[in-house]
Symmetry: D2
Subunit: 391 residues, 4 copies
Amino acid sequence: MTNPVFAALGRPFRLGIVGGAPPSMIGPVHRIAASMDQCFTLAAGVLSSRPERSRAAGVAVGLVESRCYGTVEDLIAGERARDDGIEAVAIITPNDSHARYLKLAISAGLDVMIEKPLCNDLGDAKTLRELAASTGCAVAVTHTYSGYPMVREMRARCLAGEIGAVRLVQVEYLAGGLATAVELGPDGHQRWRLQPERSGPSLVLGDIGTHAHHLVSFVTGQPFETVSADVGALHPGRKVHDVAQVRFRLAGGIRGQLDVCNAAAGMSNHIGLRVYGETGHMEWLHRRHNELAIASLNGEVRVIAAGQPMLTADAQHSSRLLHPGHPEGLHEAVANLYCGLADMMLARRGHATSGAPRLVPTIDDGVAGLAFVMACLESSARDGAAVFLGS
Amino acid sequence: MTNPVFAALGRPFRLGIVGGAPPSMIGPVHRIAASMDQCFTLAAGVLSSRPERSRAAGVAVGLVESRCYGTVEDLIAGERARDDGIEAVAIITPNDSHARYLKLAISAGLDVMIEKPLCNDLGDAKTLRELAASTGCAVAVTHTYSGYPMVREMRARCLAGEIGAVRLVQVEYLAGGLATAVELGPDGHQRWRLQPERSGPSLVLGDIGTHAHHLVSFVTGQPFETVSADVGALHPGRKVHDVAQVRFRLAGGIRGQLDVCNAAAGMSNHIGLRVYGETGHMEWLHRRHNELAIASLNGEVRVIAAGQPMLTADAQHSSRLLHPGHPEGLHEAVANLYCGLADMMLARRGHATSGAPRLVPTIDDGVAGLAFVMACLESSARDGAAVFLGS
Amino acid sequence: MTNPVFAALGRPFRLGIVGGAPPSMIGPVHRIAASMDQCFTLAAGVLSSRPERSRAAGVAVGLVESRCYGTVEDLIAGERARDDGIEAVAIITPNDSHARYLKLAISAGLDVMIEKPLCNDLGDAKTLRELAASTGCAVAVTHTYSGYPMVREMRARCLAGEIGAVRLVQVEYLAGGLATAVELGPDGHQRWRLQPERSGPSLVLGDIGTHAHHLVSFVTGQPFETVSADVGALHPGRKVHDVAQVRFRLAGGIRGQLDVCNAAAGMSNHIGLRVYGETGHMEWLHRRHNELAIASLNGEVRVIAAGQPMLTADAQHSSRLLHPGHPEGLHEAVANLYCGLADMMLARRGHATSGAPRLVPTIDDGVAGLAFVMACLESSARDGAAVFLGS
Amino acid sequence: MTNPVFAALGRPFRLGIVGGAPPSMIGPVHRIAASMDQCFTLAAGVLSSRPERSRAAGVAVGLVESRCYGTVEDLIAGERARDDGIEAVAIITPNDSHARYLKLAISAGLDVMIEKPLCNDLGDAKTLRELAASTGCAVAVTHTYSGYPMVREMRARCLAGEIGAVRLVQVEYLAGGLATAVELGPDGHQRWRLQPERSGPSLVLGDIGTHAHHLVSFVTGQPFETVSADVGALHPGRKVHDVAQVRFRLAGGIRGQLDVCNAAAGMSNHIGLRVYGETGHMEWLHRRHNELAIASLNGEVRVIAAGQPMLTADAQHSSRLLHPGHPEGLHEAVANLYCGLADMMLARRGHATSGAPRLVPTIDDGVAGLAFVMACLESSARDGAAVFLGS
């Protein structure tokens, strides 16, 4: 893996970060991932919405104090005033702030990495998509799991017809974090997720449903056409959604089932994806993320793994350890998304890119995710009636 | 495992068999399973609907020629005329003949092991249930997978509250036999399955959907209350159903998802069952049928296996090899159903039974399976609308 | 699977059984396995060395009382006097009685299935081999694991050169039954194993070491040439061996390692076998006995399974359920050995056999096993010095 | 994970790197790992022994040109002359250069991360240990696999007595890189490994044998006492060792087996470690590196995983993603070693450390590894005779 940013600029892109103060889980993930391949260097930030905390947290992760800001507005203004100001920003704050921060960033001409869901309102999402298009800003959405080499391998083989025409898809994303009444507990930093006004129209669908939705379209190359959904709460008395069962059809009449739940007791961020075609099927499991299983009509299963020489270019470009049996993980998957953002930024600036295929999820995927969420909610409100997704 | 039939009668029960001539797959399964524990001995049969073939096939499996009959009517009449006539009959013929043969058998006072689905018509099923009740005949339905020790262990632990109140169930049964256009091929002995008038109202639901349905109710102890289904064909142009996606609620509001397909390319009779409760979940997979995984809230997974000393009586009674690491398989699972039938027959005759819990599926389960099939078809015809199942 | 015995004789072979009264584990295994395919019918027996117990146990498993004998001598004499006397005998008694009973059986012209180890003394083993040769009696040794279809598949592919010339073999057999001081416990029926004078020169090597030894030679087709061994007891103060580590070379200079232990706490009859060749390796695990993994040079692993259409004739002939995903188990593995014995008996009598390849372990394998045990003991006594195995 | 270096110094330690120019595999690993937690920043280097290549490679990874040196002597001199000179150096060059570079570094008072094996000569190793002791320099050895959280968990539980007294250990490290005649191929950058004068007294033992050796002592807390080994080449005509089978005893009489091979066709850096105690055993597999399996006497297996709340402090301190189901990998394992080195450096300088347990392998482990290699070679030369390891 060579570094196209160094080649073009002689230095990494300068990244500002919004959100991620301790005890955030994704804060360190983005900081490690962005800098892993030296495509980005962390240069400024608003780590917390509380100015004092923002400054302390920023210094603790290596920022110079003068570039630890108290608000996003200050970040943008302060950095714009510098010769070495940030060129991109990572937005990893609670969902309800996404639309506002994204609008500020794009309006300032900054390129963006933003956590899913893109925002909490489909109308906002479409408006932001237009704004991004008009400014030319690159916007990447952190659909982490599409950054794994073997998910990309699955997509490449699927699109190349390795299992023939696709007929059926099964995806599930099952987590256990909400299996108990965490609403009543002391786990403050996740409290916002349990407030509908902050986490958005559907916690489970926005939080993990959009990941599952994106995986399906990413791997098959097909958009969702209709959904029939039942969305609700497993945990008695819960005010936010923690379970959704979605039957769907993709373009071309492909059938599918998507099950997501974050109250599945005992599940540790389990994701499973199976795609069935005419001549076999493929399966990817998050807990065996470096492997891809490919079954033939006769039942024989081939297991291939990251780093092996027979992989497609998509997987090779997404691996640092090109020696089979040397495992990468989640940080590298997110780093692959940052590499994709860097390529978009290089292209925007007229520089040569890495040459890797453009696989990073963009604002279009973010909008599609929101449209999926809203269609599921409409179907569920109408007792499972089939709902068509607009474009 | 002691033999309660020997203890009571000094000999095994005498079994007649209807169906199962080569190249039937389930013929040998039933013959091996019935005789494995010496609860039954194969005494007579109509192995094929063609008299010559019936005779040849019967002799080849060890029947005396005079007890190889050409029709079920002859079997019943011939055996009734003997002092050592059959006491039970196994019906393992194509679906469309089930109702007629079952009626003949019950009317003659014979006890019965019958392959699923019970029959092709819900009205017939209910009538037969009444007839069985009025005659006192024992009727067992071959829901094979409920005969595995670790499925029974799962049920015992679920009912004992090991994972708290059940909240969510996922079951899938995916096979690949119809992934290609077998309609056009030479595989004659399965041809009847592809004729709707023989295989019944829904091939996939009758064939494997009823198995999945039974597993859910067996393990949770709860009946189905509503279904929302999409039933159809993955394979283009197919006239029978090969796929069904069923969202359901059990009594008590338990959510669930049932996916069955016999055109899932590359799948080898895959069955997976997960039950989630308040404090953990349990998972059983057919391809690891001797194991049961139990996950705790904290994500720790305990894997227990057939033959281990900590298992419940239900699993212990269902195992011959009470030494961990010595695998049993499908024959033994079916043999466990025959042991259950033998116990019902002993009880009917006033003898002591094995003392094992009564776990064998009965005609009530068969009727419930048919009701499930019909409700799914109605929901699918109404575009996925929720359909309530009657009692 | 057709039954060649019926085809030749119109009935199964009549089998006598020596040993296996409750609570024996292998008693039911042999009775179920021998009769599963109707190649044998259980006709007489000496189930226990105590006449009363022998009679009660025999009747409980379906023998007529007059054919439940008190001694092997009586069994042979009694059966010889009948027109329908036994034609073969299964010897499944403690190790120290093997030589005497085998001699009696062969001398009476009976064919034999005998549990491993063949006997406790290498000299006796060789003498018995000569006696068997001179009488023409068929003698099969119950090396159970070579009866699994996927072990036979592994052998077939290995001999066909699928992984090129073999270079390295790893085999391990690890069980936990002796992890605690069972010597001091109440588990009476296994007590004889802990008495060196009964279990033979080395408990662990005779009990499970010979299984591992046979698997290696069976799959590679190569005899052992040298061993370097350390044999002893993991459990402090134990008088019998419970662990052996054996480095070996096969004919042709193939390197290998064999580790056996029956005091490996927490292990449930774990057996693992890997064979490495020039272009890949193959792995079989007992706990996944219906699968075989084949790895290529590039690290890709293909998993094939019992019942699949691409298997060799050796595996096909060894399966009853020729539908992938329908699991068989240990009973069927032993039944495959009985089918092999039946074929030997048919050939001896001039009848057509099943046509299946001759894969059942014979007295030659039994002698080789004893020679392996004695060589390991000699090496261990000489501090691991390499010891050559005679022929 | 907080950063104790920032807390103490307000900046990361400055690291120089020796070796690792493309196409080195471990070059990027060390650069990513060292900087991941911001305990180190890459400040200078000699990436190649060819000055031009060293400069180009250094600039490509973000070094300023003036700190890309042509020799280690220049690196040390140049950095010593700066106020912001390096404080530590990573030595990741071919084995035959280790002793010389390590001596230079220690003599200059630099702390060191050095790749295994420590060097190619046991005498040199001991001399260097003395030198390090006299200077007070911290020396960490890159025994990568001991940096995985679940290996550390295994050690913590083993030392805490979770499985009682340890009785048996099995370790294997099997790779396939030398399965073919790579000597004859174009893979230049690994060519030095195949030259005995560069790779040292035993390629396989130095390369991966020392890793396996360290894992055993790390997890059990016990040193090796005796070995009986057979070391050689699987590949015909090979001049370096590619296979070693080592039977061993640890202090306290614990038995063990260590098998290493880098010509095991189809193996992708497979490492397996099992430790058996009185009341159970534990197993760790590299390809499931985020999991640890713990088996009880009754055969029940508990699988625990990185990020779960019940883990010991040793594992918690070694994870960044404290959310179960979010996988880390090899980079993080090596980063954990760098964190350990940072703690040693902080302690040397009188600063507060992270408070994490001191788990990083040191020069003592490096010396023990060399002693193990030499004892195995002596045993192999003496036909497997037991050889005692000195202190």
